[in-house]
Amino acid sequence: MRSFSYERAVDPAQAAARAAEIPDAKFIGGGTNLLDLMKLEIETPIHLIDVRDIGLTEITETEEGGLRIGAQVTNTDLSADSRVRRDYPVLTRAIAAGASGQIRNKATTAGNLLQRTRCPYFYDPAQPCNKRAPGSGCGALTEGAFSRQLGVIGTSETCIATHPSDMAVAMRALDAVVETVTPNGMTRRIAIEDLHVLPGQTPEQETALMPGELITHVVLPAPVGGQQAYHKVRDRSSYAFALVSVALIQQADGTGAVALGGVAPKPWRRAEADAELPNGSRAVMARLLEGASPTEENAFKLTLAERTLAAMLKEG
């Protein structure tokens, strides 16, 4: 770990301004991802701006009847909120399926959205990784590499990492919107769909945020109703990242939304796949996973995604 300096920001605009002022500064929320990466020198900020105490820990109701979630609301508090449990159960279930109780107590809403991949090559500074060291190659795409956990769609020839968040998958199914403040004090609204970007030739570029831009809130639209479920498939019952996860919102007429975790560099959803919901899991996945390019080790994720959705739709 490199030496770094530290400050506590006092309000969101000041935090963003400070971040733009100091090159190589980073925000720190719960620190559950950032500090691990700093210890391994995968992240090497010279300055940390602590944003836990800038008035973003409330969940309030919006005029449209939705919820505005402060960026620093913890994962535990968000999943336990009675309004979330009642109106957005897919979100509660997704959060509860992630990490462990201790981590969720520390982890924040913004930090969760911006957590980085779990690709094992990203984590070993001695290995090539285009995301960590642009241009060094992709360790996971070498013949003989270990790629079972990695992505099958939306990936590129430079990077096949997945975005590991569970919470974000539910937020994608719910069409959440991220609110930010930029270093010059402007606020922006970014659809969750547009927050994470695909790797293409620049896997180090993971989001649409500009340097120093601070996430202040995540806004949920008015309750969408329907049957909501989150099924996370993994090798052990808890404390593991998803092999595949499915967030499902299904209305009484059979329409709805499907988002996948564990398969792509971002929560994965396509409108044309949603439209197939009344036709069942096979039809949905044919659209949702069209164009997939799995490795030999992770091709099972395609079958698994379809079967997981079939279970949720009670097909068979």
């Binding site: 770990m1 094992p120 270990f146 593991a240 092999l243 079958t303």
Partner: protein
């Protein structure tokens, strides 16, 4: 004390303390976080500095240059000691395969190549990242075990043979011929290797985490070219080892090197992301098993041939061992191959050999029972043997495998199991039942102890035995208490220090049986010493209620002597023990649910029945067995130290990437100990259980997955990706 003939009737047959459920005496220290583990022993040496390791980032080759200038100039850094500058050091022991430190040659990924010494951990770590190393990289060669297997599978030279396997297999009316694979496993113990070292006048003290104190002492003496008397090793608490701490690891060597250089105590812990490749692992295997039997189920031919990867000079994972003795059969063929590969050091991990071997053999037995149309319990019962199948003149000292199976079947409700694969469903879950036999040797090794009786009447036991979380403290207190007529609470047990009498240590499930026998020997010597002190004949004394009873009076141990009475002895095992096979047996029964859609497997209940001689303490023994069962679930369903065959290393770098079971994976676990005694084993008629608890578990789970789904998986771990394509539509 010599143990030259089987134990007769003795005080343990009428025990008041041994064999009684006794809670762990070190429990309060553990749950309050006050048990002193190696890295936190701040009180043992003044001015401790911190060493942070620098590790090689290639699998094979040599260092051509190292630049430490930047690191040395960093704040708080005292020195950087590099392997090339230290030069080659003597190998610590024959059992350490990979070089731990010294010289330019790199034999494994994450081999230690330098240690940075600084005032704080953070300073040392920051500077370690600044050490620049250049390498000349060697070709790592093939890491393809399947290809290596295909090359040697027909080579049966030096195979262990009985009768004529080929002819018998050829003519058997019912046969199977199946191949199984097991992956590499990581010990994944909670406490990483850690040591504090200090030199004083040419003498070395290492506070460390090690299962085998004398081996560690000898290894450090050899490495640093010292007399063993000039090395002290102290390891009273060990946060899990599972075999990786049988031998010294680089933490101890780095700490000792660094402490010598800077003239101050230095502590080193292996950072978690480096434990996987720097230490050791259980090697992967491919195993082919052929069984031939008569139509009524008598095995006539059995062959177990296997290959495992091994480092140059390593011994791989001896997967075939148990098959030599577990089941009957007149014609036998056993052969183990090693494929030398440029992977990190493979070495002993809990139940080395049997753990991986039974993962295959016990699926094969299930497949054969099915082929025969027999109940897998009945098939195993029919092929039980009371003599060594390779040497029918050699009996088992005690073998109650059949009773394990039958008691287990009864307690588990085996008769009501799902008999048709894929036929029982509970909601989205397919329900399956499986069983497996368990077999593991019951070795014993010489072990000594010293007992002190203080003027206040306290009994203190000192032995270089270790407690790796197994309960040694408690069973040794019980043993001394039994012999000297006190309660276990009256006994203080001191372990893990090389200045105490040599002991068997903890490994190969010999620890409990050997060390309790050693403490028994010392306690008998203490009885004699007390008799001498009183000027009495020891035969005329009895020891009870914390006092000594002579024919006419009762003398409390407190105040018996104004000075401490000290007695020491050890147990030595005579050759008679090897004239029979001393082993432990078990049967595992499990119920699983397999999600009919996703193939996720979850355990629903587990039962183990163990035949391991006298159970010294049912609480600590049960804890060993259920821990083994948990590890078996890991081996069955998730543990896989996947190999990057391009670069020769294990990419999983931590306990998030290498998955072992979590609490939510483990259902109700039941353990039944048969009420058996093995007089040929030790004076206490006891054997080990720590490894038995793991043996066979994974196969029981795999068999249950088959029973649930009708899909047979012969490759571990039985993760959903291995069979989701074959899973019937839900």
């Amino acid at each position: 004390m010599q143990f030259n003939t089987p134990a007769g009737q003795n005080l343990f047959d009428d025990a008041k303390v041994v064999g009684k459920p006794t809670t762990r005496i070190d429990g309060p220290l553990k749950v309050t976080g006050t048990a002193p583990y190696a890295y936190e022993r701040h009180d043992v040496a003044e001015g401790q500095l911190v060493g942070y390791p620098v590790l090689a980032t290639i699998a094979k080759g040599r260092i051509t240059s190292m630049d430490t200038d930047t690191a040395k100039a960093m704040p708080g850094v005292l020195d950087v000691i590099t392997a090339p500058e230290v030069g080659e050091m003597p190998s610590p022991s024959d059992m350490n395969v990979a070089p731990l430190f010294g010289g330019k040659e790199i034999a494994q990924y994450h081999q230690a190549i330098a240690v940075v010494v600084a005032e704080t951990f953070e300073q040392a770590r920051a500077a370690a990242a600044k050490v620049q190393t250049e390498y000349e990289v060697d070709e790592i060669g093939s890491l393809d075990l399947q290809a290596a297997w295909e090359d040697v599978m027909d080579d049966r030279s030096d195979a262990t043979r009985v009768g004529d396997f080929e002819a018998a297999f050829e003519s058997a009316p019912v046969t199977i011929d199946k191949t199984y694979t097991t992956p590499s496993h990581s010990h994944a113990m909670m406490e990483p290797p850690a040591s504090i070292a200090q030199w004083d006048d040419g003498k070395l003290t290492v506070w460390t985490s090690n299962q085998m104190i004398e081996w560690a002492q000898a290894a450090l003496a050899k490495t640093f070219e010292l007399d063993a008397e000039d090395v002290r090793v102290d390891s009273p608490y060990i946060g899990g080892g599972f075999g990786v701490k049988l031998f010294v690891r680089s933490d101890a060597i780095l700490a000792a090197q660094a402490a010598r250089r800077v003239g101050q105590a230095v502590k080193v812990a292996m950072p978690r992301p480096m434990v996987m490749n720097n230490t050791a692992h259980r090697a992967s295997t491919i195993q082919r098993i052929r069984i031939g039997a008569t139509r009524d189920g008598q095995i006539t031919a059995i062959a177990h041939e296997a290959i495992s990867h091994a480092m140059e000079g390593g011994s791989g994972e001896n997967a075939i061992g148990q098959t030599r003795q577990f089941y009957a059969g007149d014609n036998r063929l056993i052969k183990m191959h090693l494929a030398t590969m440029a992977l990190p050091e493979e070495n002993a991990m809990r139940a080395p050999g049997e753990a991986a071997g039974l993962m295959a053999l016990e699926i094969a037995m299930d497949e054969m029972a099915e082929e025969l149309g027999m109940d897998p319990v009945a098939f195993r019962v029919m092929n039980d043997t009371q003599v060594d199948p390779e040497d029918p003149d050699k009996p088992f000292s005690e073998r109650n495998f059949v009773e394990c199976l039958e008691r287990g079947a009864d307690a588990f409700g085996w008769a009501d199991r799902n008999t048709a694969p894929g036929a029982t469903r509970d909601g989205d879950w397919l329900i399956g039942h499986g069983l497996a036999g368990a077999y593991r040797g019951g070795p014993a090794m010489a072990s000594g102890a010293r007992i002190r009786l203080t003027p206040q009447g306290q009994v203190i036991v000192e032995t270089a035995m270790t407690d790796i979380g197994t309960g040694s403290y408690t069973i040794l207190a019980q043993t001394a208490a039994e012999v000297l007529g006190v309660t276990a609470e009256d006994v203080e047990v001191r372990l893990g220090d090389s200045s105490y009498p040599d002991s068997a240590g903890s490994g190969g499930q010999w620890g409990a049986a050997s060390s309790t026998a050693g403490v028994y020997a010392a306690a008998v010597a203490m009885r004699q010493a007390i008799a001498d002190h009183l000027g009495k004949d020891v035969e005329d004394l009895s020891f009870e209620d914390a006092s000594v009873r002579t024919t006419d009076k009762q003398i409390p141990l407190a105040g018996l002597s104004d000075t401490e009475i000290v007695a020491e002895d050890s147990i030595e095992f005579g050759d008679f023990r090897s004239e029979q096979v001393v082993s432990t047996f078990g049967a595992h029964f499990v119920e699983v649910g397999v999600n009919a859609y996703t193939g996720e497997t979850r355990l629903r209940r587990m039962l183990a029945v163990c035949d391991a001689g006298r159970i010294l303490n049912p609480i600590t023994a049960r804890s060993q067995v259920i821990g083994g069962m948990v590890m078996g679930v890991g081996a069955a369903l998730m543990e896989d130290a996947a190999i990057d065959t391009a670069r020769g290393f294990f990419p999983a770098h931590d306990l998030a990437g290498y998955e072992v079971p979590v609490h939510a994976d483990i259902p109700a676990q039941e353990v039944i100990f048969l009420d058996t005694l093995d007089p040929a084993s030790t004076p206490l008629k006891a054997k080990g259980v720590g490894e038995l608890g793991l043996c066979g578990v994974a196969a029981a789970v795999a068999n249950a997955v088959y029973n649930a789904t009708g899909v047979r998986v012969r490759d571990y771990p039985v993760t959903l990706d291995r069979f989701i394509d074959r899973l019937p539509s839900a």
